[in-house]
């Protein structure tokens, strides 16, 4: 082992790591996700943690090189020599990320994870553990710890805590780094070091966070025990996954990703782990997705329930029905993890944005939008929950019943639609469809005696909505349902029509709509969300991964298991090397776009996989096997 603690070299390493020459941005899909159900971090292929917000998902960042390579802050551990080969994976059934770098000097293995704790003994509030070891040869390893609190807007001073830890004060507490890796002061606000490891030798980093109290630190000697405990937790969790089909690995990964994006204290599910990643490179559509969109509700609930995660499904429905009461009887499209509506959108003008995509936004102003489809998704989630054996309390039933009145009154009104299109509000077919769904499921719940509504009025309005969709939304020239009630336009969100039971999957109008969508919006297994008549898409708008999974589910519901499976497998090819999806994929380059990883897409993947299994089972039954 050779410790290189020469100040000049350390400074040079720090400069190299933060210099403009390295201001290249990795692809969005190049990141891995680690988390603990309260916060998460994105780890790049080079071993750099470029995104971490503490103490919670929606807190300001400690590292944000994802949004500004020079200013954002990072925590990199990796080989000094260029890697000839980088192989990543999650340890099977866990959220522990392994990166193996092969260099001319040897092989370096890096493990990254957030510790799962029981909160009984004196333990850190949050802990990110990094274990680096040489598995072959004698590779030299470099580390740079460059925190930049509050989205790189606050002081980046690093203090020494009596030689036991390095600490960085943030707006909501302090982060403490404990390590047996030699780190020396580099540039302002950075500690850097290099160390040559012999095969079998390992070093650990424990980055912890304390909020209101004096910090509880974690000795690096505990890293292996923490790793074992965290692996055991995740293996126990993933072992409960009821899916036993041929795509189990992808489904388990999607389920773990959903769990990583679930805020454990409230059961809320974030749309994605990040803020400010662009839908189009260099564009201005850079939103903060660390909030909870109600449109995800039904999809997520089914994914958890049908995978056997009833406790998670119950937690989610509890969050859904209790926190959304803050805006009752109206529903808003987006809430924070505690159900609050004031999400205070602002721009971070000091950050250059991912590949210059500005402005970087944090917070979200979507509360001002009107999306009538959310009534359908919330009611459908509650219905699915009851259908799978869940019970709703009296307050929840009364709250849900109140939606019948809102839907009957408002379904004809224009809204911003599921895609949150900018410009004047219009009457969206998907919104009408989901209003129909809300009434249909409320009537079903009333018929079962779960809740009480004005059934006659609800049934009359349901019929009225169906009639409107059939007469106003089906365009005879297109031979397809239009996404707009008053003009022809293709919209892939109508692929959920079979799931809502508005039509049977093989109903001719729905089949023709699907054919048209595939022909005009499809690109391989991928699919764009709408055509130019619906809204002027950005010039280089990418395809929406959720649309592809909607289509696969639709095909499986039609009984076309083989075709659905082919498309499913082709879609898996668009995940990154770890099985993670962003919101969008550029059909031409295959690059991920938008915030990453996105929960909605992973829920879509799970539902599609489940329906493929059902379709195969039904097909096998039909063939008498």
């Amino acid at each position: 082992m050779t410790a290189i603690d020469d100040r000049t070299e350390a400074e040079a390493a720090a400069r190299a790591a933060l210099s403009p020459e390295r201001a290249d941005y990795p692809p969005i899909g190049a990141y891995g996700l680690v988390g603990d159900g309260r916060s998460c971090a994105l780890v790049g292929r080079d071993g750099s943690i470029d995104w971490l917000c503490w103490p919670d998902f929606h807190s300001p960042s400690l590292f944000a090189a994802l949004l500004d390579r020079r200013r954002g802050g990072r925590f990199r551990v990796g080989p000094v020599a260029p890697a000839r080969r980088i192989v990543r994976r999650y340890l099977p059934g866990t959220a522990v990320l392994e990166t193996v770098f092969t260099t001319d000097d040897g092989v370096v293995r890096l493990l990254d994870f957030m510790a799962i704790r029981e909160n009984v003994a004196l333990e850190p509030l949050r802990e990110l553990v990094r274990i680096v070891e040489a598995t072959e040869g004698a590779p030299e390893v470099a580390a740079i710890f460059a925190p930049r609190p509050d989205y790189a807007g606050a002081s980046a001073a690093i203090g020494d805590r009596s030689g036991v830890a390095l600490s960085c004060v943030t707006g909501e507490g302090a982060a403490h780094l404990v390590t047996d890796f030699p780190l020396a002061p580099g540039e302002v606000g950075a500690r850097t070091g290099r160390l040559r490891l012999q095969a079998g030798e390992r070093r650990a980093f424990s980055l912890t966070f304390s909020g209101d109290d004096p910090g509880v630190l974690a000795p690096v000697e505990e890293a292996d025990a923490t790793l074992a405990r965290t692996c055991a937790y995740w293996r126990g969790w993933s072992g409960r996954c009821a899916y036993r089909g041929r795509h189990r690995e992808a489904v388990v990964r999607a389920a773990i990703t959903l769990e990583l994006l679930t805020f454990a204290p409230s059961g809320a599910l974030l749309a994605a782990a990040t803020a400010g990643l662009p839908e189009a490179i260099g564009g201005a559509l850079n939103w903060d997705y660390r909030y909870c969109w109600l449109r995800d509700a039904a999809l997520v609930l089914r994914a958890f329930s049908d995978l056997g995660y009833q406790e998670e499904a119950t937690r989610f429905i509890d969050w859904l029905l209790h926190t959304t009461r803050l805006s009752a009887p109206a529903l808003k499209p987006v809430y924070d993890v505690y159900g609050r509506l004031d999400l205070g959108e602002r721009t971070l003008d000091h950050l250059e944005g991912y590949r210059g995509s500005r402005p970087v936004r944090v917070g979200n102003a979507a509360r001002g939008q009107v999306q009538l489809d959310v009534y359908g998704t919330v009611v459908m989630a509650a219905f699915d929950f009851v259908e799978r054996g869940g019970t709703l309390d009296t307050d929840a039933c009364s709250y849900l019943a109140g939606f019948a009145e809102v839907v009957c009154r408002q379904w004809r009104e224009p809204d911003d639609g599921i895609w949150e299109v900018r410009g004047p509000r219009r009457r969206h077919t998907h919104s009408a469809l989901m209003c129909w769904t809300a009434l249909d499921r409320l009537i079903a719940l009333a018929d079962r005696g779960v809740l009480a509504i004005d059934r006659e009025r609800a049934a009359a309005t349901r019929a009225e909505i169906r009639n409107a969709i059939e007469t106003q939304a089906f365009d005879p020239d297109m031979q397809a349902y239009s996404g707009l009630m008053d003009a022809p336009a293709l919209d892939a969100s109508l692929l959920v029509m079979a799931r809502t039971h508005f039509h049977a999957p093989r109903e001719p109008r729905l089949s023709r709509t699907h054919e048209r969508l595939r022909r005009e919006l499809g690109a391989g297994p991928l699919m764009r969300r709408y055509d130019a008549r619906f809204d002027s898409p950005a010039q280089d708008e990418a395809t929406f991964c959720i649309c592809a999974f909607w289509e696969i589910e639709y095909l499986a519901r039609r009984g076309e298991a083989a075709r659905a499976e082919r498309q499913f497998e082709a879609m898996l090819g668009h995940a990154n090397d770890l099985g993670l999806f962003a919101e969008e994929t550029d059909a031409a380059t295959g690059e991920a776009r938008g915030n990453f990883p996105q929960a909605f897409v992973h829920a879509g993947l799970v539902n599609a996989a489940l329906w493929i299994e059902r379709a195969r089972a039904t097909g096998a039954e039909r063939e008498g096997r």
Partner: protein, 164 residues
């Protein structure tokens, strides 16, 4: 030196409680506002148990008891010099705060069974962040907030004990 029997038991108990409650509100409030991470109840509690939730409860009990112990010493001091009042109490409180920061916290770091220090290093049992000089590790505003909290504690005791 006044006889201990000269101390008005009822007044020191009542005003000791009021002063301790006011001081703890200031110190705990400053934590909630992220002005300082110093929490004497947490430090006291973790000296007794390594169970986080229990530590907060036990620590708060010890902290309240400590408030009375010091109230008794303040009362004894007021009796000794034959007067008490807001300003005198506040001055004693500032002195008390300075003692806490300069003498008590470094001593606590050394004797606390779960605090890491430069001498002991970080171990499986000693895992608490040390306070550093004048508690500055817990935030740069810690000395100021401690002095203000102690001054308020002393002022309330001085006022209350001076009544009648």
């Amino acid at each position: 030196m006044p006889a201990l029997t000269a101390i008005d038991l009822e007044r020191f108990l009542v005003w000791g409680l009021v002063a301790t409650v006011a001081m703890s509100a200031i110190l705990e409030g400053s934590r909630r506002l992220h002005w300082s991470r110093m929490s004497l109840p947490f430090l006291f509690g973790t000296a007794v148990t390594d169970t986080s939730r229990l530590a907060s409860l036990v620590g708060f009990g010890l902290y309240m008891l400590g408030g009375w112990v010091f109230a008794f010493l303040y009362a004894w001091f007021f009796e000794a010099i034959g007067r008490a009042g807001i300003w005198l109490g506040a001055a004693v409180g500032v002195l008390h705060g300075a003692w806490l920061l300069v003498v008590f916290l470094p001593l606590l770091a050394e004797i606390h069974p779960r605090m890491a220090t430069a001498r002991t290093g970080l171990t499986r049992t000693r895992r608490l962040e040390p306070p550093g000089l004048a508690g500055l590790n817990y935030g740069t505003r810690t000395p100021l907030i401690t002095m203000v909290g102690q001054a308020v504690y002393g002022a309330i005791l001085g006022f209350g004990y001076g009544l009648g």
